[in-house]
Each structure stands twice: as structure tokens, then as C-alpha cells.
Amino acid sequence: MVSVGLLPVLVVSLLLFTIGVVGVLVRRNLLVVFMSLELMLNAVALAFVGFARARADMDGQVAALFVMAVAAAEVAVGLSLVILLFRTRHTTQLDDLTMLKG
Amino acid sequence: MPVLTILVGLPALGALLVALLPKRLARPAALGASLATLGLALAAWARFDPTVPGAFALQDGPWPWIRDLGVSWALGLDGVGLVLVLVTAVLVPTALASDRTPGRAPAALLLLCESAVLGCFTALDLVLFYAFFEAMLLPVLLVLALWGGPGRLRAAVRVLLYTLAGSLPLLAAVAATWVHHRSATGVPSALLADLLATPVPTSWAPWLFAGFALAFAVKSAAVPLHGWLPDAYAEAPVGALVVLAGLLAKAGLFGFLRWALPLFPEAAIRAGPVLLALGALGVIYGGLMAWVQQDLKRVVAWTSVSHLALCLVGIGAGTPDALAGSAWLAAVHGLYVGALFLLVDLLEARSGRRGVDDFGGLGAMLPRFSFLLGLTVLAAIAVPGLAGFPGEILVIIGTWRVAPVAAVAGASGAVLGAVYLLRVLEKVCFGRPSETARVLVDLRPAPTLPLAVLGLLLVGLGVRPLVNVVTPATDRVAAALETARTVEAP
């Protein structure tokens, strides 16, 4: 039986991360950008789990848990910001949100 | 007991206290903290025994601080540091007592600055020194930018720019010095003693010295790099002004004596003519500028440029007497320039003016004020028997052997000093009183006390100068330079 090994896990993780990066950079909808961010976080979590398996050490899994927790926190705050923005600006399009200009 | 650590920390604690106390108590608390620091500084002086072998008679640490980088908390006091610490400890209470900016933030900031200045004068670790050297400007800058005169923002930006131009090369040079020590010994350390033990190769040393020297020259307003000074001095509120003029500018000169010259003696010797030329130029340039100013604060500011340049001449000369004179002059310069600024500020506070021609005849109207102003001016132009004299004469005599031209420039500075400061005295105190002068009343006891203390110090230190406290330290520097010179000669 062919075992999995670290390499495929990392490849998948990196591809997933890349897809996330593309989403973050390309999409204009704030919500989708958030989802792409979630993809990137998950890619990292996957890498952590893979490393945990490779080193036979539970620390990686703990890190994955932390990633999850951070993601939860981030989504909570981020989504309330989205709602707030929508309430005041009636848009979730990122290109419209350039009001910092001085 | 780690006296020096407490000494450095006390004002910062005081600042915290001031920030927490109700407004009413803030000013007395600030004054109390600075007076306690003064007491501690005097205690340090009492425990200071120049006969102790080794460079630093009082020492705290080294205690490891950032272990991986070999940075430690190490404080030490030699003679030069001691006189500067004492001047700091005297000037800050004076500045706090005379400051009129409202609220507790300025007082707290000045105390913070005192901590940094004291740290700068005592740090024995290069990284620690750099941290203090950079930290001491920020509180003063804040006070200047928030509570200064109408042109405060421009002045503050300019100070920031000039300082930045000096700080970045200094940072690079500090880092390079550290890297060199680590690669030479394999042990990371930024302690002065360790750095002295691994001399930097002659190929690098000039660049590193240049990095140090640039920052120190900016800080001590050496002449082409002095652009930050006049505006900053003219706009700063008096507390910050006294600290800025009396203390911060000294940090540059001190940096030369404590770090730049001992670490890179060969480079310092090679750079000597440049320092001498810059100093001589500054003496004359500052003197001429002071002569034609119409604003009293600017006259004093340019006085400061001229006298600091004389200190630079002494450092460039590098002979034992010139270095000792330089260190001594740097210390007492804080006292008399501080007093001059306080006096000018009193006039400004009462009349709203500070033009040279706005007053007149104050000698008859405000005898006490005029007496103190006259005394301070005489001390500033180095009349013997007052504190400015030993420094100036030692610099001139010591410089003659190396560069007679620079000594002549220094002596001309003494003549110019009489010209421009007596002009001020004549216009302000002599002649017939102007309309502005008529409404003034003489000093009340409250502002007199700090000024009287400064006046007494100017007389006392003139009659009994503590040059012998300074000389062991400066002699060591001069000896290092001499060794380097004899090595270089063949």
C-alpha cells in the first residue's frame, strides 16, 4: 500500500493557498474575498496537520485548532464590518471603498 | 545598591506619577521627582571615587538584557559623565520650576526626557546608548510640536529631519560595530569594554567613525548641520528649551568623548582636521550670526552654536587639556545657556516681547534681574572667576599645539562673544527704558530661586572648577589618541 507522505499534502496545501491568493487579489466582492481568506487559512491548517503527521507530534494539530479559532474570531469581526459597511455605503464592492484619501 | 539604575529610572517613574496624579498635584510632583533625582545625583557624586582603578568609578551591571544579541543593561559613571549628570539633575528642576506650559503632559515628558538623558550619559552598552540617544529627543520634540510658539510645527519637522539624517548612519554604524565584534570574537556583545578590546580594522573604521560623528555633529549643531537649532530654540516653550539647549546638545559632544574617539582613535585622528575646521568655522559663524540677531532667544541660540563649536574644536584637537576643557565647557554651557534662556523667557512672559530693541534701562528698573543677566553674560563670555573660563582657556591652549589657526578662531570667538552678548546687555539693561520696559516689575522670589541657584553655581564653579573630576576620563581618551598617533606616525 502506498502511503501518503508529506509531499502531496504540502502540494495540496500550496495549491489551495494559491487559489486563495488569487481570490483575494482578483475578486471585488468583499464577502468572496473573505471566503478566499478562509481558503488560505485552511491551506495553512492543512499544512500544519500534515507536519503533525510527518513529525508524529500533536503540536501541529494544536496549531490547526488555533488557526480555526483565529478564523472564527476574524470572521465574526470581519462579517460585522461587512454589515456595517453595507449599512453605511450600500455596497460590498471593494473598489468602492477608497474613502481614505486625504 | 544600583544607584545609577535608580537614578536613570527615577525621573521616568516620576513621569508616570505625574501622568496619574490629579492636575493640581502634577507640577509639585514633577518638581519633587526631579529634586529627588538631583539628590540621587549628588549621592552618586559623593560615592564617586576617582581613585578607583578602571575607567568607571561607579558601575551598574552589566546585566543581560537581550541575551541573543548580547545587549546588556550596563550603566557606568566616569568624570565626564558625572559632571553632565549633575548638570542635568540641576537643570531639569530649574526648567520644571520655570516652565509655564499648562497641564501635566509637558512636565511628564520633560521627566521622561531626563531619564533618557541620564541614561545616555551613563550607558556603557552601545545599543543601550543608542536607544537612550534616540529616546531623549522624542519627549522634547512632542513638547515643542504641541506647546511651542507659532512656528512650532516647522521647527519640529526640521529637528526631526536633521536628527533622522544623523540617526540612520549612527544606527548603521552601531550595527556594524556590533557585527564586527561578534565576527571577531564569536560572542555577541555591545559593551564598551568588549568593543574596545576588539579594535575595528582601519579599512572600516573611518566609515564607522563618520557614522557616529555625523549623528553627534547634528546633535551638537556643528555648523553646516545646525539648521535645526535656531528655529527650534526660538519656538520651544522654556522648559523644553532649557532641556534642549542645556542637555540634548551635550549628548553629541559626550558621544564623541565616550564612544567615537575611544572606539576609532585612528579614524578620529584622521578626522581631526575636519572637526577642527568645522569647529573653528562654527565659532566664527555662530558669533557673527548672534551679532546681527534681533530676537533675544535667537541671540542666545547662536551663542550656543558658537560655544558648542568651541567644544568641537577641543574634541578635534584631542590633546588632554583641550578635551578636558571641551568636556568642562560642555557641562557649564548647560548652566549658563539655561540661565540665559530662563531670563529671556521671563522678559517675554512679562512683556510679550523678546526683541533686542524692545527694552532698555532695565538696570534701573529691574536691578535683580539685570544683576543676574549680567552675571550670566559674564560667565558666558568666559570671564575668569566664573564657570565658563576654565573650559574655554583649556580648549584654546590645548588646541594651539595642534592647530594654532583653530586656537585663534577660538580666541576670536571670545572677542565676538563680548561683542554680541554685551550688545544684548547694553540694549536690554542700559540706556533709557522703552515703553515696554516701563511696565515690568523686578523678579519675584519664585523665579529668582532657580536662577539664583544657577548664578551661584556659575560663580562657585568658576572659583572652584571641578576640572579634576573630568580629567581622568579625558586623559584616557587623549592617551588613546596619542597611542594611535604614534602608531600612525611611522
Binding site: 491568493v21 483575494v24 487579489l25 471585488r28 474575498v33 471593494l94 471603498l97 477608497t98 474613502m99 484619501k101 486625504g102 | 516647522r154 526640521r158 529631519l161 553646516p224 539648521g227 535645526w228 528655529d231 559663524y285 557673527l288 550670526m289 551679532w291 546681527v292 588632554p320 587639556d321 578635551l323 578636558a324 538696570g363 534701573a364 536691578p367 559674564l378 570671564v383 575668569p384 572667576g385 576654565p390 582657556i393 583649556l394 584654546i396 591652549i397 590645548g398 594651539w400 599645539r401 594654532p404 586656537a407 585663534v408 580666541a411 571670545a414 572677542v415 563680548a418 561683542v419 554685551l422 547694553e426 542700559f430 540706556g431 572648577p465 576640572v467 579634576n468 573630568v470 580629567t471 586623559d475
Partner: protein, 646 residues
């Protein structure tokens, strides 16, 4: 008594000054006057005791060492006072004349408007006296410099005593600044000496003398430079060419101050410095020659300038410059003793003349000779005193000035040209002739004021009366000194016990004691006296009861007269050559450079930063989140590539 008492010499007057400064307005005029007078009297007593002590073993040296004042490297300032017959006699003179002047002041400064602030006057006078005594007794050149600057500061304070008048304030500042130029030269001279002596550097005068005596080559290359620097320093304090211009202006000060500055103390400081450091000068004939030439030129030039002013005290001021010129001439030709002799006699008769003039000024409340005249009948005692001073300064045989002036001129005549760096050129004879002419000029201008002020008829308003005894008594004492001062050092041709000063102070003044030239010296002195009398007689015919004083001389040479009456336009020349170019440089050169160069660079940098900040705010920090993310990604990609490549 203890040797340490020496410190009370400068110490007593300084103590008085401090007490008066602390007491301030609480000190009544009487208290202030007696404080100052008392301390001066005390100092005089100590000085006399010191002189006696040093004379007991002729040439004994008393020194009190209070240790090091400050020191660094080879520069060491020691707090040492020392007295030998030279310094002690000088101290006696300073303290004595100073005491008499203070006594006079008690009567002089009694105007109602001066009374409340008189503590300041007495404090400054005391400080002045203390500084001068310090200067005289200092064994260390840096300690001497303390006194040297101290008298400068005090003269500034005292000339500007009535500081509410801008003219006084300006005169005071001018005195200080011009003196300061000389002081800077002295500083550099000290620096040069320390540098030249190398490892054996010392600033103690006797030690320096010993070192240089042992190895004169130490100063080989720089003896002339040192001598010239010392000379330049001395011209500041002693008001010689080129730095004399402060002295005539200083006449605006109270008359006792003028007496103190011009007679006993400040102006002698320069000569004193050269006398103390004669061993440095002796190493360079050129420097000696320069001293002599400067002295002769000052004597002549100031003599010419003294003929014209209408201000009584201004004439005396120029006369001081002229007499000190003779003194410098004496120092230059190596006749230290003769010069010192003239210094002492000049102190006596010039103090007398100033105080007598002060008595006149006090009675008339102005100093303009055109509004005086005929005072001999109204102020007989003052007139008598002035007459004694007049005879002394003119060199009437038997009066003190006769002997001292003759000694200087003869020394000049007797000097060898090579000794003063003149090669084979008969410079000494020339100098002697210049001195001779200057002495005749003295007779001319002194007669002029004598006749204009005391003879003829009174041309002013009111009825001036003789001054009170407190003013007159010091005049009488000084008259006695001016009359008998010559006994200090009678020349050999008189044939009695002569040359006391030469024996007492001469050994401390270096050089060979002047060979008293018998008949030649006598002929020179008597010839000068006869010529002077002729001038006096001529002047008497000219000026007794003339309305305008200058016309009579000036009509012959109108252009020259106007030129000289304007002080030779030297002030204007200095102003045009030194002050205005410097201020112009400051104002249009340096200040403009500062504004256009340094400040503009600062402004430009600030503007650049501000523009960068604005651009950052307007363009970069608008809030395009994804552009930021792109930046992050770019950075990450770069780092990754970097890692991949390495």
C-alpha cells in the same frame, strides 16, 4: 605676621565688594564708602608690611601656594601669590593710590541722584582694586589673567556707571571689547608658551623664567611671535597703538574711576605684564624693538591728539597714552627699571592731575575747558595740587617726572640698535628724539589746560568754590608723592645715595641695570626741562585768557588741526576697516548664507517630506485594500524567489 596674609591683599577688597553687593541698596552711602575705603586701607597696610618684609632681606620672595586651581594636561593654573620687592612696591602703589582715590570718591559721589546707588560704585571700585592686586601679585599667568580680565570687567562696569545714558553705555562696551581683543592675544600668548615649553610647560612666572634661562632654545622659533602677542595684549590694557581708542571715550565715567583706571591700575597692567615677562621679550630683539616703536609712536601720536580736545579729562586721557608710550619705550630698550620708575611716578602725578580735574569738575559740573578759566583764585588748593602735578608731568627739575622721564629717554639713547632688532640703523637715537618731542608736546598740552582752566578770567556761569577737605586732602597727599617720588630712584649724577629702586626692584626686571650716564644723562634731562619751560612760556602767552583754545594752534595748519582734533579719525577708520566689514559680513554674508543656504536646505527637506507625506496620503493610503494585498504578495513572492534561488 604670617605670609598667608598675602591673600588678604586682593582678598580684602574682594570681600568688601561682596559685602556691598549682598547689602545692595540697604548699604548707606556712608557705609559703602567706609567699607571700600576701609578695605583699601587694610590692603595698603598689608602691602606696606609685605614690602617691608621683602626688603628686610632685599629681594626676598614670599609666596603663598594654595594649590592647583585647575589643571589638565600640561596646562596648570595654580593659586599662588608671590611678593618680591617689585611686586610688593607695585602693590603698595596700587593700594595707596586706590585708597586715596576712594577717599576722594567719598566726597565726589555725593550728588543726590548718585547717593542711593552708590553701593554699586563702591562695590565695583573694591572689585577693581582687588582684581588689580591679584594681577600684581599673581605668580601664575592664569591667575594673572583673572586679574587682567577682572579689571577689564570692572572698567566696563565703572565707565558705564551712569548706564542710563547711551553714550556711557557705548563707551563702556567699547572699552570692554577693545580690551577683549588684547585679552584674546594674551590667551594665545599663553597657549604659545605652554606649547613651546613642551613637557616642561608651566605657567608659573618664576618657573617659566628658570626653564627659559636653562634652555632658551625652547622658545627659539616662536620668541618673536610670543613677544608680539604679549605686546598686542599689553596695548589693549595700556591703551597703546593700535588699541588705545577706548581710553579717551572712557572719560565719560566718574572722575575717580578715570583716576583709578588711568593712573594707578588698569593702564599699567599692560606694562606690568611686559615687565613681569621681560625674560620672554628679551629672547627676541624684534619684539623688543616693536615694543619700543609702539611706545614711541603712541607717545608722539597721543601727544599730538592731546593738544585739541575741549574736554579736560580727554586731554588727560591722551596724556596718559603718551606717558605710557614713554614707559613702553623704556621697556622696549631694555630699561625695565626706568620704565617701572616712570610707571610709579606717573601713577602719582596722573592720579593727582585726575583728582584735581575731578575737583574742578565737581565744582563746575562740566568738563569743558572753554567754560573754565581763572579758577586759581576761586580754588587755590586744587590749583596748587594741579600745579604740582603739572610740574611733575612736564618734568620740572626736582619733581618726580623729571627723573623718571629722563631715565627712560637716556636709556633709549644708550641702547644698542642690535638689541632691538634694528641692525645698524640708529633706531635708539631716533626713538629718543621721538620721546623728546613727545615730552615737549606734553609741556604744550599740559600748559594749554593749565592756563585755560586756572588762569585768565572765569568764562563759565555761577560761582565755583573750593572743594571740601575730603576732596582736597587726597590731593595734598598725592602732591607730596608727585613732588618727592623722584627720590625713589635718584640718578647717579646727583651724587647722593641714589638708585634705591634700581637696587630693590631692578633684579626682578631683568636686563643689565642701565649705566647711569653722568653728564650725558644730566644734560639730556636739563635740556629737556629747559626746552619744556620754553614751550610753557610760549603756551602761556598763547592761551591765558583765550576764548577758543584750538584756533591759536590750528590757524597755522587748519587741515591738520581739524584732523587731529577729530582724534585723527581713528575711530572712523577702525569702524570702516574692522567693525563695519565684520558686521557687513555677518549681516549680508553669513546671515544671507544662513537664510539662503542652511535654512533653505532645511525648508526644502521639510517640504520634500511634507510632499511625500501628502502623496502618501492622497495616492497610497486611499484604501484600496487589494492593492495593499498585492504589495504583500509581491513581497512574499520576492522572498520566496530569493529563498528558491539561494
Amino acid at each position: 605676621m604670617d605670609v598667608a596674609l598675602l591673600w588678604t591683599l586682593p582678598g580684602l577688597p574682594l570681600f568688601g565688594a561682596i559685602v556691598l553687593a549682598i547689602a545692595g541698596r540697604r548699604a548707606s552711602p556712608a557705609f559703602a564708602a567706609s567699607m571700600a575705603g576701609g578695605t583699601a586701607l587694610g590692603a595698603l597696610g598689608v602691602a606696606i608690611w609685605t614690602l617691608a618684609a621683602t626688603l628686610r632681606g632685599m629681594g626676598a620672595r614670599l609666596a603663598v601656594d594654595l594649590g592647583t586651581w585647575f589643571a589638565a594636561g600640561p596646562t596648570r593654573a595654580s593659586a599662588v601669590l608671590a611678593a618680591d620687592p617689585l611686586t610688593a612696591s607695585m602693590a603698595v602703589m596700587v593700594a595707596g593710590v586706590g585708597f586715596l582715590i576712594l577717599l576722594f570718591s567719598a566726597g565726589y559721589m555725593d550728588a543726590p541722584e548718585d547717593r542711593p546707588g552708590s553701593w554699586r560704585f563702591y562695590a565695583c571700585m573694591d572689585l577693581f582694586l582687588g582684581s588689580m592686586l591679584l594681577l600684581v601679585l599673581a605668580d601664575d599667568l592664569l591667575l594673572l589673567f583673572v586679574g587682567w580680565e577682572g579689571v577689564g570687567v570692572c572698567s566696563w562696569l565703572l565707565i558705564g556707571y551712569w548706564f542710563q545714558d547711551p553714550v556711557h553705555a557705548a563707551a563702556a562696551r567699547k572699552a570692554f571689547v577693545v580690551n577683549r581683543v588684547g585679552d584674546a592675544a594674551l590667551l594665545l600668548a599663553l597657549a604659545l608658551l605652554v606649547g613651546a615649553l613642551g613637557p616642561r610647560a608651566t605657567l608659573r612666572i618664576p618657573e617659566m623664567q628658570a626653564v627659559l634661562a636653562e634652555d632658551p632654545s625652547l622658545l627659539a622659533g616662536s620668541a618673536t611671535a610670543a613677544g608680539l602677542l604679549l605686546l598686542f595684549a599689553a596695548t589693549g590694557k595700556s591703551a597703546q597703538i593700535p588699541l588705545y581708542t577706548w581710553l579717551p571715550d572712557a572719560m565719560v565715567g566718574p572722575t575717580p574711576v578715570s583716576a583709578l583706571i588711568h593712573a594707578a591700575t588698569m593702564v599699567t597692567a599692560g606694562a606690568w605684564l611686559l615687565l613681569r615677562l621681560h625674560f620672554v621679550l628679551a629672547l627676541s630683539p624684534v619684539a623688543l624693538g616693536a615694543v619700543a616703536v609702539v611706545g614711541a609712536a603712541s607717545a608722539l601720536w597721543a601727544g599730538l591728539l592731546a593738544i585739541f580736545p575741549h574736554d579736560l579729562k580727554r586731554v588727560l586721557a591722551y596724556s596718559t597714552i603718551s606717558q605710557l608710550g614713554l614707559l613702553f619705550l623704556g621697556i622696549g630698550v631694555g630699561a625695565g627699571t626706568a620704565a617701572y620708575f616712570h610707571l610709579l611716578t606717573h601713577a602719582f602725578f596722573k592720579a593727582l592731575l585726575f583728582l584735581a580735574a575731578g575737583s574742578v569738575v565737581h565744582a563746575l559740573h562740566h568738563q569743558d575747558v572753554r567754560r573754565m578759566g581763572g579758577l586759581a583764585r576761586r580754588m587755590p588748593w586744587t590749583t596748587a595740587a594741579f600745579l604740582v602735578g603739572f610740574l611733575a608731568i612736564v618734568g620740572f627739575p626736582g619733581f618726580s617726572g623729571f627723573f623718571s622721564k629722563d631715565a627712560v629717554l637716556f636709556a633709549a639713547l644708550a641702547a644698542r640698535p642690535t638689541d632691538i632688532g634694528a641692525g645698524t640703523f640708529p633706531l635708539p637715537v631716533l626713538l629718543c628724539m621721538v620721546g623728546f618731542v613727545a615730552a615737549l608736546l606734553t609741556a604744550l598740552y599740559m600748559s594749554r589746560i593749565l592756563f585755560l582752566v586756572f588762569f585768565g578770567r572765569y568764562r563759565g556761569e555761577g560761582r565755583p568754590r573750593e572743594s571740601r577737605p575730603v576732596l582736597v586732602v587726597p590731593l595734598l597727599v598725592l602732591s607730596a608723592l608727585a613732588l618727592f617720588g623722584g627720590l625713589l630712584d635718584l640718578p647717579a649724577w646727583i651724587g647722593v645715595d641714589s638708585g634705591w629702586l634700581t637696587r630693590a626692584a631692578g633684579p626682578h626686571l631683568g636686563g643689565t641695570p642701565p649705566a647711569h650716564g653722568g653728564a650725558v644723562e644730566a644734560a639730556l634731562g636739563l635740556g629737556l626741562a629747559l626746552a619744556s619751560l620754553a614751550v610753557v612760556a610760549w603756551a602761556g602767552r598763547r592761551w591765558v585768557d583765550r576764548q577758543d583754545s584750538t584756533d591759536s594752534v590750528g590757524s597755522a595748519l587748519p587741515g591738520t588741526a581739524r584732523f587731529l582734533a577729530a582724534g585723527g579719525r581713528v575711530d572712523g577708520m577702525y569702524d570702516a576697516l574692522v567693525v563695519r566689514p565684520l558686521r557687513g559680513l555677518a549681516r549680508s554674508g553669513v546671515a544671507r548664507l544662513e537664510a539662503s543656504g542652511v535654512q533653505r536646505a532645511g525648508r526644502a527637506a521639510a517640504a520634500l517630506l511634507e510632499a511625500a507625506g501628502a502623496w502618501n496620503g492622497r495616492v497610497l493610503q486611499r484604501g484600496p485594500v487589494q492593492d495593499y494585498a498585492l504589495g504583500i504578495a509581491l513581497g512574499a513572492a520576492f522572498l520566496l524567489l530569493l529563498a528558491a534561488v539561494s
